[in-house]
């Protein structure tokens, strides 16, 4: 048995015990009795008090009982616990996984009717752990899903810890632990002694003294379904887990986690949460317009069974929450058991085709109730096929041809050509409306201009006349050495084989994103300013072989998709939970109101200040569902986007018995889980019994 709050009990005893004795002297309602003389009594009292100051306390059964009552109450305050398997350390980092798989429903206790989520179970386990911590222990709470957040830095305030644990929200994001471990390592660094300093500043150079081991213990409350963790064994290996864990691990290194993050921390304890394994869900989803028939949509859905049994269920397609009545809108799918042992495969792809001209919300539902509901639905916001307008400002016919032809294939319905001189002289109304360009994208061929209504511009050899942008020389015969392939504008664009004969060396503002570079200069750059976006190519299009390369139409498609927000694919409006969404801000909008889904309590509305930004990055996509935005511009523009789970790791909810964390193999030992029994109710019961005994003794007026 151990006492969790013994300092409190000692403090209470130090204060209260003398008070009890004092009260014992003061509280007595002495019975008045007349005697012939108090002469001898007084003398007797004086004699006894001289001999022993506490003589009157001696052999007082009532006081003895009161002391026992008091000791019992102090014991209750000290919070005695029955022996449990291990004692928590003095500094503990509590990691709580609140990713999508933690929303899986689990039966509570022995009752199979009442259900609770794994996250709630994890919180309960964490709260129990906090309750059992010794009084001199400190803990911090980190919640992690796709990103980690410090809910509470190191403190010994158990009430605060419990509050922060309870306040961790559920998400539908993918679990990644690396950031949480970095945070824990930084906060638990030996140099960061107390929680106050830890909250004030992280160690500036956390890696330098990393060799010093930390005295921090890590308690991980999770189901083990963490995307950047290894799983040496998987008791319920599905197709995806087979893919992930079948490769032999020659070294115990978990990808995505820096070794320093692990080594800076002390002992790890993995508390496995959850038992459920039965889940099937939608793991892939795409909506595309038919290239031949823009009014037709192709919806692709990939469903997969992660449970141990074969299942059969319907996949239903709904448009604007209404089921379609035509044939093929509901498809019955049979899926084999996870692991592919049965006749039917565990995963299948389902395709729907529908005619849909107008904008709508496409929702596909896997009609089966299982432990995890978040992966049973996917949805996408379908934009109407809108006409994209492009303006080509050039006086050269070849350039017009090179640009017009591929763009016509990209559903750019309105392509206008304008001579540079005309561009500079046409009335403003032919270029802009409501403070915004009439064209979705404007191509400038070798033309420098300062006539730049808010909009999207691509300069081939020309430059926007802006502060900080200028030509500072010519570059000839150099090769291209770098391309930012991760940028949406260069997605799938092969720049290595691109030949550019000459280009201008440019001076660009520091906020410019370099897309393609040579050894000493920028060849292609992207500049985003409030209400303007510029793609600047430092070379003349005809000085390169870019227009005749296959990369060119892809590049133009990226431009149309990224700058103008259009294209054949609708998947640009489908996001995974936790993903940062870049929202195009309409002209004149100052604020955006975003309604986010929250399955537990309806929708949550938040208002964001746009701060003159043309693109609003929105990272609050923690829950799967439909997000609606309203802008306060003149047109009251509204739009929507959908967030879906679509992650095999999270859909495969079978909790991991063993996880690989860096070089540590963590085994969830259920027996090692704290099973301490709080004994304070018994102490209180004993105190009550003693109070009754004392009352009985008092009533009997026993001669003492």
């Amino acid at each position: 048995m151990t006492f969790l709050s013994w300092p409190t009990a000692i403090l209470a005893g130090t204060i209260a015990f003398p008070l009890l004795l004092l009260l014992y002297f003061l509280k007595l309602r002495r019975q008045e009795r007349r005697v012939s003389s108090t002469l001898l009594w007084r003398k007797a009292i004086e004699d006894l008090q001289v001999n022993s100051p506490f003589q009157r306390l001696r052999r007082s059964l009532l006081l003895l009982l009161q002391c026992l009552v008091f000791i019992a109450l102090l014991t209750a305050i000290a919070n005695p616990m029955a022996r449990f398997t291990r004692m928590p350390g003095r500094r503990v980092v509590i990691l709580i996984d609140h990713s999508a798989s933690m929303n899986a429903l689990e039966p509570t206790g022995k009752s199979s009717t009442s259900m609770t989520t794994r996250l709630e179970q994890a919180k309960q386990a964490a709260v129990m752990f906090v309750n059992q911590m010794p009084a001199d222990s400190q803990a911090m709470v980190i919640g992690f899903a796709d990103r980690a957040s410090v809910e509470c830095s190191f403190t010994d305030d158990k009430r605060l810890l419990r509050e922060r644990i309870e306040s961790i929200p559920p998400t539908d994001a993918v679990a990644r632990i690396s950031e949480a471990l970095e945070l824990a390592g930084a906060y638990g660094h030996p140099d960061v002694i107390d929680s106050q300093r830890a909250t004030a500043a992280l160690p500036a150079d956390a890696d330098a003294p990393a060799n010093r081991p930390s005295n921090v213990e890590v308690e991980l409350f999770s189901d083990g379904r963490i995307s950047d963790l290894g799983s040496p064994t998987d008791s319920h290996a599905g197709p995806s887990s087979r893919d992930e864990s079948s490769s032999p691990r020659t070294r115990n290194v978990t990808p995505g986690i820096t070794p320093g993050a692990i080594e800076r921390l002390g002992r790890f304890q993995y508390v496995r949460i959850g038992q459920a394994v039965d889940n099937a869900g939608i793991v892939g989803f795409d909506v595309r317009r038919d290239l031949e028939r823009p009014g037709y949509l192709n919806v692709f859905v990939e469903v997969e069974n992660f449970g141990p049994d074969s299942i059969r269920s319907d996949v239903t397609l709904l448009v604007d929450d209404k089921p379609l009545i035509h044939r093929g809108a509901v498809q019955e799918i049979s899926l084999g058991a996870a692991g592919g042992t049965g006749d039917a495969p565990a995963g299948r792809t389902v395709m729907f085709e529908l005619e849909q001209e107008s904008g709508s919300v496409i929702l596909v539902r896997w009609e089966r109730t299982d432990a995890l509901a978040a992966d049973n639905e996917v949805q996408a916001v379908l934009l109407p096929p809108r006409s994209i307008r492009a303006l080509i400002v050039t006086d050269r016919a070849p350039v017009d041809v090179f640009l017009r032809k591929p763009m016509a294939e990209l559903f750019v319905q309105d392509i206008t050509r304008m001579h540079p001189k005309d561009y500079e002289t046409v009335p403003e109304s032919r270029l802009a409306e409501n403070g915004r360009s009439l064209y979705d994208v404007i191509f400038m061929d070798g033309h420098d201009t300062n006539r730049l209504p808010p909009g999207n511009y691509v300069f081939f050899g020309g430059l926007p006349i802006l502060e900080g942008i200028s030509r500072i020389g010519d570059v000839v015969g150099k090769s291209l050495v770098y391309g930012r392939e991760s940028h949406p504008l260069l997605r799938s664009v092969s720049y290595e084989s691109l030949f550019v004969g000459r280009w201008k060396k440019l001076a660009l503002p520091s906020s410019t994103v370099s897309l393609v570079e040579s050894e000493d200069s920028v060849v292609m750059a992207f500049l985003a300013e409030p209400r303007h976006k510029y793609v600047i190519l430092a070379f003349d299009l005809l000085d390169s072989d870019f227009p005749v390369r296959p990369a060119f139409p892809i590049f133009l498609q990226n431009i149309v998709e990224y700058l103008a927000g259009g294209g054949a694919s609708e998947t640009g409006q489908i996001y995974q939970a936790g993903e940062t969404v870049l929202l195009n801000v309409p002209a004149g909008a100052q604020r955006a109101t975003i309604e986010a889904p929250r399955p537990e309590s309806g929708r949550r509305t938040e208002t964001l200040d746009l701060l003159e930004r043309a693109i609003l990055p929105y990272a609050g996509t923690q829950r799967a569902g439909l997000y609606r935005m309203r802008f306060d511009d003149a047109l009251r523009t509204s739009s929507a986007f959908a967030v879906n789970l679509m992650d095999r790791r999270e859909s495969q909810i079978a909790p991991q018995q063993e996880i690989l964390l860096g070089s540590q193999r963590l085994i969830a030992d259920d027996d090692a889980r704290p099973t301490a029994q709080s004994l304070w109710p018994y102490a209180v019961g004993l105190a009550l019994a003693l109070v009754l005994l004392e009352w009985w003794v008092y009533s009997r007026r026993v001669q003492v």
């Binding site: 008045e32 007349r34 012939s36 003389s37 009594w41 006894l48 009157r56 003492v704």
Partner: protein
């Protein structure tokens, strides 16, 4: 200050202090004085002082200055030496009874006061029967009642009424009362003091006042069994019935033992004080009958015979 001659209104019903059978037995007794007392008036009592009565007592050799009328000439004729013939002197004895009527005497069952009154009545009756000069005095913080100069059996009723009507009240101050008595009482004689001597002002001063009066002092300390072995329990606020003083006690065995040892020390101290000064001390518990006190104990101690 109340008039010492007046008697307070009784607060107890009048009780018969002596029954006739006991009175008959008392008539056979007399109070003895150990000292030789000079009475102003000759009494029926044969004094140990040699004097003028007809009763022969002893011889002694003649010395110059002796009254030659008392020379026994027959002895001179036989022995040719002069001897004086001594005769016993008859004198009356002053018997004073000081009765403590303070509030503390009301305790006990029967009360110490009633017990003391019975002893006082018995001794007064013995004195009256023997033609002694009997004086009854009631006191608490001073003398509060006095009935003195009684002689002869016919005063018995007065004495009884005085005792019966003496009210039990007030704070005890024996020294004060004894000083008062000593100032007013110049004759010798026998004095009996009936009290519990639980006097916060002490008893020494009072007894010294009495010692200066050549009195044969008999001191009867009367205590109830409840005082000797207190039957108290729990947490008590003991209130002194005389002065209202409070002692808060938690009754425990050590405390009771301490009380009893203090009581014994108090009684022993009183006894020792008396013994050193020739005072007759008699511890008188109320659970002993008055008859046994009178007929046995006081006889053994030589007060009566």
């Amino acid at each position: 200050m109340p008039d010492p001659t007046t008697v307070s209104v009784p607060h107890e019903p009048t009780e018969v202090l002596l029954d006739s059978d006991f009175m008959r037995r008392l008539e056979q007794l007399e109070i003895r004085a150990r000292r030789i007392h000079t009475a102003r008036q000759a009494g029926e009592r044969r004094s140990r002082r040699k004097g003028e009565s007809a009763e022969f007592a002893d011889y002694r050799e003649y010395s110059v200055g002796d009254d030659i009328r008392h020379i026994d000439w027959n002895v001179y004729a036989r022995l040719e030496r002069l001897f004086l013939k001594l005769f016993l002197e008859a004198e009356e004895l002053h018997v004073s009874i000081l009765l403590d009527v303070s509030a503390s005497m009301a305790f006990g069952s029967p009360s110490k006061a009633l017990y003391a009154k019975r002893i006082a009545a018995a001794l007064a009756y013995i004195g009256l029967c023997r033609q002694d000069r009997v004086g009854l005095y009631a006191f608490h913080h001073q003398l509060v009642g006095r009935l003195s100069g009684l002689r002869g059996r016919h005063h018995t009723m007065r004495a009884m009424q005085f005792l019966q009507q003496a009210s039990i009240d007030g704070e005890s101050h024996f020294s004060n009362a004894a000083r008062q008595f000593a100032l007013s009482h110049t004759q010798g004689g026998v004095i009996l003091i009936l009290s519990d001597f639980l006097d916060k002002h002490g008893y020494e001063v009072g007894l010294r006042h009495l010692l200066g009066r050549r009195l044969d002092i008999y001191l009867l300390q009367i205590l109830a069994p409840e005082e000797r072995t207190p039957n108290l329990t729990g947490d008590l606020k003991l209130v002194d019935c005389e002065d209202g003083g409070v002692a808060e006690v938690t009754i425990s065995r050590p405390l009771v033992e301490r009380y009893r040892s203090n009581l014994k020390a108090h009684c022993d101290g009183l006894s020792a004080f008396c013994a050193r000064r020739g005072i007759h001390y008699l511890f008188t518990p109320t659970d002993q009958t008055v008859e046994s006190i009178l007929l046995t104990t006081l006889r053994q101690r030589g007060l009566v015979r």
